[in-house]
Every structure is written in C-alpha cells, then in structure tokens.
C-alpha cells in the first residue's frame, strides 16, 4: 500500500484551507464590533491584581481555571500512557543514519542552553509570557536533540517516573491543603501581597503549581519523544 493522495483530496483540502483563511481574515477586518463583545473576561481580570501576579494569563490558567489545568495534565498523561503502551514494549529500532560530528558537538553545546531556557520560562511563568507547559516542552525538545544526535542516549526512566509522580501528587496535595484551609479546592493559601507583584517570589501557590506543571509536562513529553523515535511500530 503506497501513500498517495487523489486529486479530490487535494482540491477539497485546498478549498477548506482557503475558506478558513478568508474567514479568519474577515474576522480580523471586522474588528470594530460593539465594545462589549470583546470584553468577556474583564470582570475576572479585575480580580487578577488580588493575587499579585504580573502575568494575567497565568492567573487565568493556574488560578481561575486551575482545575481545568489539572484535567489537561491528566489528558497529557493518558496520551503519554497510550503511546508508551503502543510502542514501549516493542524492540529498539536502530536509527540508520549515523549522526555526524557537527551535530554531536552542537548538541552538547546547545542542550544546557535549551534546558536553562526551559527552566527560565517555567520559573518566570508568573512574570513574563510562558509557563509550565511551554517550559516543559522546550526541555523535551532539548531531549529530542540529544536523542537524534547520540544513538545510545536514553531518558533515565526511573528518574522520569519519580518526577512525574511527585509533580502530579504535589499538585493534588496543594489543592487539598487549599480545600482544608480556605474551603476551596486550589485556593491560594500562601501569602500573596499585592506589594510583591513583579518579584520572583510572589503570588503564593501559583508559581509553585506552574513549576510542578512544567516538571510533569517535561517528563511526559520526553517519554513521548523517546518512544516515538526509538521504538519500532509492529501494528
């Protein structure tokens, strides 16, 4: 069975694509709508200052919608589990092309920088654009660079298991402590003074939760990448 596309597929996808682009462009051009139509979250965003977080998006993702973030992490875990179940048991597939000297040297040079940038994006998620999801995936892309340049490299499995378990359990435990102290799941029980806004240690539990999210996403994405690259499908 060869992979080919018929003319109909090309035409239909071409029409669908151009329709989507034209609709988006129209949507952008029709920006002078009534004012109340693009202000759905303003009442919510006014509460943002109470938490002492400089980045309002982080407050929405981790605090106002913290339970949704827990669900998203669970979804990512299930995806990682499925890929591991489908591909993890099979034998190692050898990467045929030998990586050359330049790729190996450059990956040794770049991997610490990529990891450092990922940790920066993760830790500064409550101050600047970014956060746990992005930082975790940046670290996973550094692992991808190591995987394609060094044939014998493997992600340390026991370390990844412990990190992932720790991050997931700690997220739920922080939520439960909030439930016990302030009667709301994932409530901000640590001090979050508005005078501290913009400092690295500010905002109570929100940066802690985003770092935990980053650890969990990074380990899960690293395992997904390793399973996809190193294992042979036998379906």
């Amino acid at each position: 069975m060869s992979i080919k596309r018929s003319l109909a597929t090309t035409t239909i996808s071409g029409f669908a694509l151009s329709a989507a682009f034209v609709l988006t462009l129209l949507n952008l051009l029709l920006q002078n709508l009534p004012a109340h139509m693009h202000r759905a979250g303003d009442e919510l965003l006014k509460l943002n200052a109470d938490e002492g977080i400089a980045n309002a998006v982080t407050t929405v993702v981790v605090y106002f919608r913290g339970f949704d973030t827990l669900g998203e992490i669970a979804v990512l875990f299930i995806a990682s589990l499925g890929i591991g179940l489908m591909l993890g048991e099979n034998e190692r597939c050898e990467i045929k092309a030998e990586s050359n000297f330049m790729l190996q040297t450059a990956s040794r040079l770049l991997f610490p920088i990529i990891t450092l940038y990922g940790i920066y994006v993760m830790v500064y998620g409550h101050l600047s654009p970014g956060g746990g999801f992005q930082g975790g995936v940046i670290i996973a892309s550094g692992v991808l660079l190591l995987l394609i340049s060094h044939k014998e490299y493997e992600v340390p499995h026991s370390l990844v298991v412990w990190l992932e378990t720790f991050a997931g359990v700690a997220y739920v435990l922080i939520g439960l402590i909030g439930l016990l102290t302030l009667d709301v799941f994932l409530s901000n029980f640590l001090p979050h003074d508005i005078a501290q806004m913009g400092l690295l240690i500010s905002g109570g539990i929100i940066p802690i939760i985003y770092i935990l999210v980053g650890i969990k996403v990074g380990s899960e994405m690293s395992m997904i990448v390793q399973n996809l690259i190193k294992r042979q499908s036998n379906v």
Partner: protein, 79 residues
C-alpha cells in the same frame, strides 16, 4: 504599517499552505506545515498574545511536526 505586516504574513501563510497541499512528497508537506505554524506565531505576537505565540512556536512548529514525521516513518515501514 502594522496592517501591512499582518496582510503580508497572511498572504505568505496562504502561499506556504497551498504549496504544502500540492507537494508530491509528504515529508515536504510537513516541513511547509511548520512554516504555516511560524507565520501564525508572528500573527499571535502582533495581536498581543505572546503566551499563545510561545506555545505555538514550541508545540505547533516543534513537537507536532516531529510527531507527524515519526508517524510518516512508521507508515513507510509498514507499506
């Protein structure tokens, strides 16, 4: 000036997307699909959504095209 940048990015994305559709080889299509993702990164950034732009740059242009390429490799190994 900003509107010109936005329109130019849109037209560039359209051209890249059409050429991704009409490519013969699927690997070339995936690489061009990454190009569409990069164009949308610029648009997100212009429209004051740097968080979404970072996510799109990392996930849309990076990891998802890796997953597409690996799926393509597995499909070729089957056929």
């Amino acid at each position: 000036m900003m509107g010109f940048i936005i329109l130019a990015t849109f037209i560039g994305m359209l051209i890249i997307a059409f050429s991704a559709i009409i490519q013969k080889s699927l690997a070339d299509s995936i690489i061009l699909f990454m190009g569409v993702g990069l164009g949308s990164v610029v648009l997100f950034f212009v429209f004051n959504a740097p968080d979404v732009a970072l996510t799109e740059a990392v996930i849309g242009a990076g990891i998802s095209s890796l997953i597409f390429l690996m799926a393509l490799k597995h499909l070729k190994a089957e056929s």
